[in-house]
Structure formats: structure tokens, C-alpha cells
């Protein structure tokens, strides 16, 4: 449970978050182009989620607030509870620096969190450049799964599927398929992992909707095929529910030009 909460709140350094007024629809090409122009080999969490949305993947909301007032209005828009997190290129260990606040349920809590985060950062990292604070909705905890993509030197893009948390880290309970996936591949790679009974709803836990996960794998496979610019993709975690799934964090690494 603790792992899930931490994962839900884990957000990348989102330097390129746009303020609300400046936020506009950007195509995948534009997002990748911007990153390249700025000399980045990765996409921020916000950018990664934007392109995943284009691929048809359901993700959590994440927006940049530059002021306390903006944080309040964004959190009302996104809906409580929210999580907040410092956005600064100079703060590496955000939690240690007091840059992360979870489970904020009201305007008052959001306002206080904003002030606390800013003052804590100023105290811990006086020289840090602060872009703002990211506001993100707290996804309802579900069974954690991960979908990853890496490029095998021989076979090209490969998708990985596994259960999140310690199951993937310690037990390496994951399955692989070469892109493009067929429906059968998606079905098999989910059922192939040892932890599959957990997805079926072990001991009264909410089962994951396997059809939704299969669909998700196929969407990611399609997207990976269309986007050879992506070198790696890590959607971790995804919260799987009986009626859907949501990508809570995502990260894209780009191929060098």
C-alpha cells in the first residue's frame, strides 16, 4: 500500500510544464520537436502523458501552477484529493527537500502545501530555480502493473509487461513480446506472468480488467510502431481496476537524432 501511494505521487522533474494560459494542444511531433530543440533526450512526465493520451492511453492529470491561486484553481478543476510536487531543474531529491505533498483534500490544504513546498525548497536549496508546483490528481489505488518498451539490438522494439512494485523488481516476474503485438500476444503475455492470479482478484481484492490491459498493450504496440523516435518507454505504475486502468507515471526516452 505504501509503495502504491509513493508511486502515485512519484512525478518527474517537469521543467517544461506550461501554465494554464500557455497550455495548448500540442501534437506528438511538436512535443518531441520541443524536447529535441531544448537538447533533451527525454520527455517530461507531462509530455510523456500527453503523447500517451494521443495513443489512446488513459493517464492521470498533471498541470503546472505558478502561484498559490493557480494551484487552488487547478486542484478544483482536477478534483480532490490532489498531490503537489516542486518543479525545479535543480532539485533532485524532491521528497527529501520537502517538495512533495500528498492527499490534499481542500483548498486550504492546497494553499498551505504550496507555501510549505516553496519555503522548504528555499530553505534546503536556496539557489534552486523554481518553475512552479505541479498539481496532479491522486489516482484511486489499484493493482499496479507496468508496461515498458526498450529496443533490443537484434529484434528492435520489445514490450514488457509485469506487475508493479517488488514483484517486478525482485522477482523479475515479467513477460516480453516483440512489436507489433497481435491480440494473441497481448492475451498471452498477461497470462504468462506468475502473478496473474493477483490480476484475477486474489483473496477478494478488486480484479483487474484483463481486456482493458490487453487493449492497452495493443495501443502501446501500435504507438511504438508509429513512433520510432522513442527509444524507451516506461509506464510505471499503471493502476488496474475492474472497470479500467490509468497510467499514473510515464517516462519516454528519445533516440538520439
Amino acid at each position: 500500500m505504501a509503495a502504491m501511494v509513493v508511486a502515485a505521487l512519484y512525478m518527474e522533474n517537469s521543467r517544461q510544464l506550461r501554465d494554464r494560459e500557455g497550455e495548448k494542444f500540442m501534437s506528438v511531433d511538436e512535443i518531441i520537436g520541443t524536447a529535441r530543440k531544448e537538447g533533451r533526450s527525454y520527455l517530461t512526465e507531462l509530455e510523456s502523458k500527453q503523447i500517451l493520451k494521443e495513443a489512446g492511453v488513459n493517464t492521470t492529470e498533471i498541470r503546472l501552477a505558478r502561484s498559490k491561486e493557480e494551484a487552488i484553481s487547478l486542484s478544483k478543476e482536477i478534483g480532490f484529493p490532489v498531490a503537489m510536487k516542486i518543479v525545479s531543474p535543480d532539485v533532485l531529491h524532491k521528497t527529501d527537500a520537502g517538495g512533495v505533498k500528498l492527499n490534499l483534500n481542500s483548498e486550504q490544504e492546497v494553499a498551505k502545501a504550496f507555501d510549505d513546498i516553496i519555503s522548504s525548497i528555499k530553505q534546503h536549496e536556496p539557489k534552486a530555480k523554481i518553475d512552479g508546483v505541479a498539481v496532479q490528481n491522486m489516482a484511486r489505488p489499484g493493482t499496479e502493473v507496468i508496461i515498458g518498451m526498450h529496443k533490443d539490438p537484434q529484434f528492435g522494439p520489445v514490450l514488457m509487461f509485469g506487475l508493479g512494485g517488488i514483484l517486478v523488481e525482485v522477482l523479475k516476474d515479467v513477460s516480453f513480446r516483440i512489436v507489433p503485438l497481435t491480440k494473441r500476444d497481448a492475451q498471452e503475455m498477461i497470462r504468462e506472468i506468475k502473478g496473474y492470479p493477483i490480476l484475477e482478484g486474489y483473496r477478494g481484492q478488486e480484479p483487474a480488467n484483463i481486456g482493458v490491459l490487453e487493449d492497452l498493450l495493443l495501443k502501446v504496440s501500435d504507438f511504438v510502431e508509429q513512433r520510432p523516435e522513442m527509444k524507451e518507454l516506461d509506464i510505471n505504475p499503471i493502476f488496474a481496476y475492474s472497470d479500467g486502468a490509468v497510467a499514473v507515471d510515464a517516462r519516454v526516452i528519445l533516440e538520439s537524432d
Binding site: D152, Q154, F155, G156, F176, R177, T182, D185, E188
Partner: protein, 472 residues
Amino acid sequence: MKDIVSKLHRAFNPRSVAVVGDKREMDYMWLRNLAHFQGKVYSVQIDEQELPGIEALRVKNYYRLLDIPDEVDYVIVAVPRAAAPQIIRDCIEKKVGGVMLFTSGFAETNTEEGIRLQQIITEMAKEAGLNLIGPNCMGIFNPRIGLLNAADQYYGDGGPVGFISQSGTYAIFFSLIGAAHGIKVSKSVSYGNAVVLDSTDYMEYLAEDEETKIIGMYIEGVKNGRRFFTSLREIAKRKPVLIWKGGMTEEGSRATATHTASLAESPLIWDAVIKQCGAIKVDSLDEMIDTIKALLYLKPTTGKRVGLAAMTGGQSVVITDTFAKAGLEVPLLTEKSYQKFATFFNIIGSSYRNPLDISSNLRSLDNITRCIDILNEDERIDSVVLELSLGLLTRRARSIGTSFDDLFEALAQRKDRYDKPFLVVLFSGPEESVATEVREMLMAKGLSSFPSFERGAKALNKVVEYYRFHRL
């Protein structure tokens, strides 16, 4: 993909072969391998000292490939590595159908000179569109026309199995051991460092080859995995493709580097590739042979339920464990089957629940055959398995004054008549020396046997999985 047929046809079906650089030191092995070749054989050798030996084999020698007055379809090259570029140049000029380099000492040595020479011949061949096989290999085996990799391989008659092997040893072993198990090769190729033609090219060729019904592969590495994957996915729908990947451990991949200069590849990714394409993964030469045997000799089924008949009690327990462990099911039989058993089966010292222990019923041939007939008729059973224990068979034959022949004949008839796969495990026990002979007796009747429960069970499970994947 049809292009590959016209591209490789001459190399795989040559009407003329030239051997370059064969010598006494190798006992003229390449020329000797061609003793039964149905087309023309030429030698190319500049060393005067070698000429009498070549003449003694009644092969006409030329000083250069280009001096041969006729077309040359296939060239076998056994010269020292430094001479390889010159020979390749001649092959290009001669417009040969294909050239295989037995010559080694290239990138697999990881020396500057070896890598440089490999680069030279690769570039020359690629630029000219020359079909270069190898280097560091044994080349093509086409038994029907007597084109051999080794003098003890068979010729005249081939079979339905195409074999693609990065190792020459396994190309030869597969043909010889396979033949001892009733598996004959249509065409095979050992292709070594694969600098120009790679496994995918050969696989695509054999996919189009009408004589080839099944493709087996021993691979240490592929040059273009993406292309391999795409081709395999398509071909595995049409013909069973078995893949045995060498170097699946970190230690093993060190060996593939020095053997055929292949790069380390992730075993997990290979597993995914094989599974995804509906190919069959095998992990040893034995598994390769067993699984091909099951494809060739067992009727197809997608069912996992086996009916097991062992000759003694202990074996009946162990055969059950083994088949269950391999992924198969050993269900109870129908009530109807049990009623049939009750009419004749001697249960003192025997049992028939499934597994069957038929020890007390061995004396009567009729009882043995009734047992397996009931398994075949039972609707809960998809495959029938019978253990033949050599020691017991010998004793039975001696005590009731009969030969193996009556039993084997009865089994062979059933193999043809049954609509289900009928698998025989020939358990040699302490009588290993007789096992080969008995295996051949069985084979002469069209019954291919498996030498252990493990090997039979694994092979059966692999082909069932294969038929399930492709919904045959």
C-alpha cells in the same frame, strides 16, 4: 520471397561443383565427399605436390577456377584464409551459383587480420551479389544429388526435413542421428559466420522448397533480428519451424563469439520471438530430433490427455509423473472403458485406472492390444502411450517361444488404424546394446520410438502446443 528460390537454386541443386584447395593433409575430404555426386566435379589446386592425389581420385584439376571450361554452380573453398579474397574474386568473375568457405580464421578469431579479411570478402560478395555461404562452415548437404558434408552421410534418397545450422558439427550430427531415428533431410546448410547469407535467407529458401515440410534450425546469432522475426512469423504459419538457440547462457554466449563471431542475445527475447511466431523451441539436439519425430510420426492432436500403458508398476508411476510434469494430463478413463477391462484384464499384480500397469497381461498378445485399443477408443483420451521394456520383452519372447515380431506387427497396424497419436517408448533398461536393433525393427514397421519417458513426453507436449497454436 520467391526471389530467394531463383537466387539460391543453383547453390542448393548444383549440376557442377568445384573444390578449391583440397589437400592430402585433409585426406582430400571434400573431393571424397563428392564421390557420389550426380553432377560434374572439378578440382582447383595450384600446389603441384597435391596433384597426384587429386588425379588418383579421378578428378580433373585446374590451376584457376576461371580455367574450368564449364559453368560452375557451387564452389567449396578450403584454401588458407589469406587466399580467400582471390578465390572470391574468381567466383564473382566465373558467375558461380554459390560459394561456401570451409576456410576459417576470420572474425571469430577476433584478430585484426581475421576481421580485415572477413570485411574484404564480405564487401566483395555483397557488391557483386555473390551467394557466399559461411565462412567457417560446411555448406550445403543435398542427399538426393549426393552433395555431402561428410563421407558417412547418406545419399540417393532424402527426406522432408530442412536443416539450417550455424555449426557444421550439428548439421552433420542432425543428418546422421536423425537418420537413425527415421528422420531424413531434404536439404541442409551449415553457414558459420553468416557474413552475406544468414539464417533468414536459408529459412526463406526452405520455406519455398517443396521437398521441405519441416524446418529445423540451430542458431548462434542472427544478423538482422527484425527481418528474422518477420519472416519466421510468416513461415511458421505454413511449416513447422523448430529453433534451437545456442549461447543462451552468459557463458555460452562467450563461446558463440569465438565460434561464429555471434553477439550475445537475450534468452528472454529469443523465447518471446519463438513463442510469438508459433515456432517450436528446443534446447538440444535430442529435443530437435524427438520433436521432429513426433511431427513426422504421430498423428496431430490438440488434446493434452494421455492414456498411459506401462509394463510394470514402478514404471506406471514414473511414466505418469513424467508426462504430467511435461504439461500433459493423465485423466481417469470412462466407465465404459473400465467395464471393458473388467472382462479380460488380469488384475493380480496389474492395474488399469490410467496409468495402466499391464505386467500380468504380457503373455497374451491379445491382452496387450486390447489394452491399448481401449485407450484409443476412450473419449477422454487424446494420445495413447505404450512403454516397451526391452528386458521384459526379451523374457516374454523367450518364455512363450515367440519373437518380437508378432507384437511389433500388431502395434504397427494400430499406429495406422488409430485416429489418435500412438507413441511408443522403448525403454532399454540394462539392454542398451540391443536397443538400437529393436529401434530399427520398429522403424522398419513405421513405428518410431522414443528412448525415455522424458523425451517422449516433452516431444508430445511440444507438438500438441504447436498444433494448438496453429489450430490444426
